[in-house]
Symmetry: C2
Subunit: 307 residues, 2 copies
């Protein structure tokens, strides 16, 4: 008797695919049913052993499932939830893995037979790759996972989802959807926006200059290109769905950047040195919080900050 | 008979220290003399085996040296060159490892007995750590090194410095100082400026928010903190010394960022999606140019782009 007899994975890319492998390995799931629109994706998910069955219809996918995981691009989760309705049991726990929470709560809940069984979640883990081939067991190991239940959410359902992520070796935190969206705006959304932008700035350089940028990317540009290779659909949805928090943080960043621009233009070395010294201390804070680790750069990688 | 009988390392931190270890291991240097102002640095360099002798006086350090490597913060290289003068032989090759080249050429050459023996260089390698303890053999392996000789530079001297870096397993390119400074402004200087700025924006958040940023840094912020932990003195000098090229690239970036801000404010998904798709292609260009490599994120690190 597994914790979940039948799990429906709505979407089977990097996150849901990796979760499927993790649930299987941890013995948490009986049958895993993947739901994907594309026949190619379904075939590949089966080949890769991400699921036992793969179907096209959301309603068929969720039939008899006691756990449903929404893992499609955030913008279509509401629509998928609506399409699941005919097959969905009121006892089933529904969760999601989107990087934004406020909008998902608003989009998904109206379509569920039992809103209290919806446990909004966000595993803070990923790579720049997407699709079923990007999935791997262990993606969530030593990562954080944020659950954002609302007032009516069933505490027992929250507990079961928490236990699932803890089995995946994630450390689980609980906060409100609004708080989640503010925190992620600065830790994740703004960094992605900036990386996308600078890589775009380079993309607009003349061909010859561009070739050289690739050649000398180890000078610091490499990390930005990795971040800016993340899934375009998902990130478009994230920025548009978390607009207010992203614009607020972006505004603060731009004010600071203009201050730097001014200091450089007027050759003011002291404010630059003072800032660079403060930011060095922040790195220590991050390392102590266990979100980074100190290492010598590996061959082929530079650490992103060559001199 | 080694290629260099006596090497004077002017400054013995991450770069010069790592070069010293590399020269020793490759059997390229006889005696290595380190020059550092601080008694603590000199003692530590000796303890770590980065040099055979450590002295305070630049003139004493370069006596009898057939190779002199300037590895101090860029802004003081001219001053160090002037102080070396009494001890420096006209046959000695002088090179440097600064991340900027135009200014170094202007600052150093007037103080040399034989300007044609100066080979300006920039190993594009490093980590966020600095000082003698950060040095390690192999830092330059599979990295690029840029040499920027000027018209009068002695071709034989350039050849010997090229051979030295190739022994360190770096791939060597030659270009003008001006061209180097333009290319590095976008591949290295602007990315560092942006990373310093966003980490500073976070540093200004209220305490409680800051703690959470550390906790969820894996969402993309981690890479920025690593870049923004780089040596403050060196980077202040870089931005002030390469001002024009940095301001030009920063201007382009800010225009693009304002475009993103506008697209988000007005919920224009298409330009965002189109940009994010183009930037994904750039990543492939960088990987093909061999400056990055595809990997699953290691435990404790996230790859900087968790969802």
């Amino acid at each position: 008797m597994k914790p979940f007899e039948r799990v429906a994975m709505m979407g089977i890319g990097l996150i849901n695919g990796s979760l499927a492998l993790t649930l299987k390995k941890a013995g948490l799931a009986g049958e895993i049913v993947a739901c994907a629109r594309g026949a190619g994706t379904r075939a590949r998910a089966l080949e890769l052993g991400l699921c036992d069955r793969a179907v096209e219809s959301p309603a068929e996918a969720v039939e008899g499932a006691d756990l449903v995981v929404l893992g499609t691009p955030p913008a279509v989760m509401g629509e998928i939830a609506a399409a699941m309705r005919p097959g969905l049991s009121g006892e089933a726990i529904v969760t999601d893995v989107a990087s934004i929470k406020g909008r998902i709560v608003n989009d998904v809940i109206p379509h569920l037979p039992e809103p209290r069984m919806f446990v909004p979640g966000h595993p803070v883990a990923g790579t720049e790759h997407s699709g079923p081939d990007a999935a791997f067991e262990g993606l969530f190991r030593r990562r954080r996972c944020i659950l954002t239940p609302i007032e009516d959410t069933d505490p027992a359902a929250v507990q079961r989802i928490r236990a699932m992520w803890e089995k995946a070796e994630s450390s689980v935190d609980v906060m409100t959807p609004e708080h989640h969206d503010r925190v992620l705006a600065i830790t994740s959304h703004l960094p992605h926006l900036i990386a996308y932008t600078i890589v775009g700035t380079v993309a607009d350089l003349e061909e010859e200059a561009k070739t050289e940028v690739f050649k000398y990317a180890a000078g610091g540009f490499t990390d930005f290109t990795r971040i800016a290779a993340s899934d375009p659909t998902m990130w478009r949805d994230v920025f548009l769905s978390n607009r207010e928090a992203v614009l607020e943080m972006l505004g603060r960043f731009m004010e600071d950047l203009i201050g730097m621009q001014r200091a450089i233009r007027w050759s003011q070395g002291d404010p630059l040195f003072e800032l660079f010294t403060r930011t060095r201390a922040i790195r220590r804070g991050v390392i102590e919080a266990g979100q980074a680790y100190v290492r010598k750069p590996a061959d082929g990688e530079n650490g992103g900050n060559a001199d």
